[in-house]
């Protein structure tokens, strides 16, 4: 009897505790809302007082497998502490910096660092988890001197309802990567990469004619990357994935069909993509690094991967603008400030990010040091400065360049405007994966039907999210 009652009571207690806990979790979100704003609009705009004693935790310290970058981080922390001796930067390493499961878990558990790494596309998720502090009042020309030179379309990815939640650290615009060696072998001019899909088809045919398993053009079609590249290619032609309010699909258009038709023609009419499809990151890089692939759509840091990890040569890879040239998919990463951080923590975080990522000549823009550490200098990434900042950055970069900067001249010269990914990108990409995969694996694929199906599915997915 006793044990029976005991058990029943403990079960009840457990259940009650559970309810209380989840109730507490609900309410804590609303109660902690005000403190960032309360911290005073009067002094929020002022830079961090060097006398202020504050500890701020920051993730994405480079891992041990990247010793040079790790050492740079340590040196930068030491240099930063000369300016702000009372700030303790508590570094947390981890690779990759953002892993979806761990990222979601830390947001749910509010265990993210005070200043935490994220992708441009994550802001919505972070806000839904009530995980970000509004830093609009803290960021100005005094705290971030380069602010006026930062591309507004990049800052826009970190804003919601007019409030700023983070600062960018790197970004990329997609373009056309190509293998200069294969271009030469196929009798193409490596200084003039194709800029339209018609030119790509011409070049791809010639490269594929080299034989020996060489493909002219390649594209991803799995793990949502097919949808991601579909989006990039649609942007190049001037299309959009969703309507402006993000509630309806907007890709079932002439441009949208053109993207699928291009892939279909490259695969079946020109036979320039090879029989192996269903590719995903990093398959295209592996193929290009082994001189089996002529062209694909990608980001500048793919070149770093091909050289550092796949042991290719910088000389062999060139980059041109996004085919179509109307707009280029823009992505990147940033640091967001955890909700509930003290004003001094936010200021210290901004000071650190400004020092490490946003000051020309310092931190990541200390090109002389990067060169000295044997890391590449001269790639068009990050790419968020405009105006005077861009000019200064380009000069500094050219002075220490270790990679053939002229190989990216066609990409830089075109300066295609950046366009950010749609809201709820991953859900949309997942649907488009199927359409892309179908045109690449099914000779009888019906582009119109595929796109109509994808449209209705995306509309369904978006409706479900309302």
């Amino acid at each position: 009897m006793t044990s029976d009652v005991l058990l029943r009571r403990s079960v009840a207690l457990l259940a009650a505790a559970g309810l209380a806990l989840s109730a507490a979790a609900c309410s804590s979100g609303t109660s902690s809302g005000g403190d960032a704003g309360k911290a005073g609009s009067a002094d929020a705009a002022a830079p961090l007082d060097p006398a202020a004693k504050v500890t701020v935790s920051i993730d994405c310290q480079p891992p041990v497998s990247k010793p040079a970058e790790r050492k740079q981080w340590a040196d930068d922390v030491a240099a930063f502490n000369k300016l702000y001796p009372n700030v303790t930067v508590a570094s947390k390493d981890g690779f990759p910096c953002e892993e979806p499961a761990a990222f979601t878990a830390q947001l749910k558990g509010r265990t993210q660092t005070d200043v935490f790494y994220s992708y441009f596309t994550d802001l919505n998720q972070v806000l839904d988890a009530n995980g970000a502090a509004d830093i609009s009042a803290y960021v100005n020309e005094k705290t971030v001197p380069a602010l006026k030179d930062i591309d507004p379309s990049v800052l826009a990815t970190l804003k919601a309802d007019g409030k700023l939640y983070g600062l960018p650290t790197s970004n990329y615009k997609m373009g056309l990567l190509y293998n200069r060696k294969l271009f030469k072998q196929a009798g193409l001019d490596p200084e003039k990469p194709p800029t339209t899909w018609a030119e790509i088809r011409e070049a791809a045919k010639k490269i594929a004619a080299l034989g020996n398993g060489v493909n002219g053009y390649g594209d991803y079609s799995a793990t949502n990357q097919g949808g991601w590249h579909y989006t990039a290619e649609l942007y190049g032609l001037g299309g959009s994935m969703t309507t402006a309010d993000g509630k309806k699909a907007a890709f079932n258009t002439a441009e949208g069909k053109q993207v699928l038709q291009n892939l279909y023609d490259l695969r079946w009419t020109d036979n320039a993509m090879g029989a192996t499809q269903g590719l995903k990151w990093p398959d295209l890089m592996t193929r290009m690094a082994t001189d089996k692939l002529g062209m694909y759509v990608g980001a500048p840091d793919d070149i770093t991967y091909m050289v550092q990890t796949l042991k290719g040569n910088y000389d062999d890879y060139g980059m041109g603008p996004m085919p179509g040239g109307k707009s280029a998919l823009l992505g990147g990463n940033d640091y967001i400030f955890k909700k509930g951080s003290t004003p001094d923590q936010i200021k210290a975080g901004i000071a650190w990010i400004n020092f490490k990522y946003l000051t020309i000549g310092k931190g990541q823009f200390d090109y002389a040091r990067t060169k000295g550490d044997g890391l590449p200098v001269g790639l068009p990434q990050p790419f968020f400065f405009t105006g005077a900042g861009l000019a200064a950055d380009n000069r500094a970069k050219a002075a220490s360049a270790t990679v053939p900067v002229q190989n990216y001249a066609p990409y830089l010269a075109a300066s295609v405007p950046g366009k950010t990914e749609p809201a709820n990108a991953q859900q949309i990409y997942k649907v488009l994966d199927n359409a892309v995969s179908a045109v690449l694996t099914d000779r009888g694929a019906n582009v119109d039907k595929l796109l109509a199906d994808a449209e209705s599915q995306v509309n369904q997915v978006l409706a479900n999210l309302q």
Partner: protein
């Protein structure tokens, strides 16, 4: 011992030849299927980056690059990852041996009120996909109800949930059930406490099943992926599976292969040394039909 095919049948001339052919074939195929990948792993780690990703693949490394192993060891911090994995595995084993044996003993021999209901509730958890509970479980570990302790980044986050292993409790209970009641009754008449009876009667008889449960306990931790990914965010505390997989994205493929070879070595060697005991435990243990 008599099996499906009798010795007399095998000793016939035709039988003997057929047996020879089957034997040779089985040995060859098994060696290829189970040792082949290991060979590829060890030699792959000796190849250069370009050779590993070249097409067609090579059977022997063109040039030996033993330095890849050193690079893998230091860049992926394998020593640390291995230590973590063993630490988690044996900690989990110790806790399971204490708590699961005690629970199975209570359910089998002490038969408390509601014992069957408790057993049923435990067995019910076998039906729940681990991935389904992963977020509520994570939230629980972040802030244990009533105690308000955060276990993330501590080994307890891995150890304690492994105790809730219904399969092990079930195996142990089934084995304990087969220990004659008269022995227990005799011990009780002699005035032995339940703990003493467990220690001096039940446990000595249960060595085979304890071996089996131990292997399962260690292997479970050894194999787990999603849970340690969430509860050990600090790379210094991560087990092998997580550490290697996440770092593998940023280093060359030959280095990853070398890392995998190093990571596989300890358990494979351990297994080869103790295979007789492990096999005996697994095959004779309480898993009889």
């Amino acid at each position: 011992m008599r099996t499906l095919i009798s010795d007399t049948q095998l000793n016939r001339p035709g039988g003997r030849r057929a047996y020879r052919i089957v034997l040779v074939l089985v040995v060859l195929v098994f060696t290829l299927v189970f040792l082949g990948p290991l060979y590829w792993l060890v030699t792959g780690g000796l190849k250069s980056t370009r050779e590993v990703i070249q097409n067609p693949p090579t059977l022997f490394p063109h040039q030996l690059h033993p330095a890849t192993y050193r690079e893998a060891w230091s860049q992926l911090r394998i020593g640390r990852l291995l230590f973590n994995t063993l630490y988690y595995a044996f900690g989990a084993l110790a806790l399971q041996l204490v708590f699961d044996v005690a629970a199975a003993y209570a359910l089998s021999k002490l038969r408390p009120v509601l014992g069957n209901l408790i057993l049923g509730m435990m067995l019910a958890t076998l039906m729940i996909p681990a991935a389904v509970l992963i977020v509520p479980q994570y939230l629980t570990v972040l802030d244990l109800p009533l105690l308000h302790v955060n276990l993330v980044n501590t080994p307890w986050a891995i150890w304690l949930p492994t105790v809730a292993n219904a399969f092990n409790i079930f195996l142990l209970k089934r084995f304990f059930d087969s220990i004659p009641e008269e022995l227990m009754a005799a011990a009780a008449i002699d005035g032995a406490s339940p703990l003493r009876a467990l220690w001096s009667i039940v446990l000595p008889m249960s060595r085979p099943i304890l071996g089996v449960v131990s292997i399962f306990a260690v292997v479970n931790v050894w194999k787990d992926f999603l849970w340690p990914l969430l509860v050990q965010p600090d790379p210094r505390n991560q087990p092998l599976n997580i550490g290697i997989n996440s770092l593998s994205l940023g280093v060359s493929q030959n280095v990853v292969i070398a890392a995998l070879a190093i990571a596989s070595a300890p358990t494979v060697v351990f297994f080869l040394i103790f295979q007789r005991n492990i096999m005996a435990g697994l095959t004779s243990g309480g898993l009889k039909g």
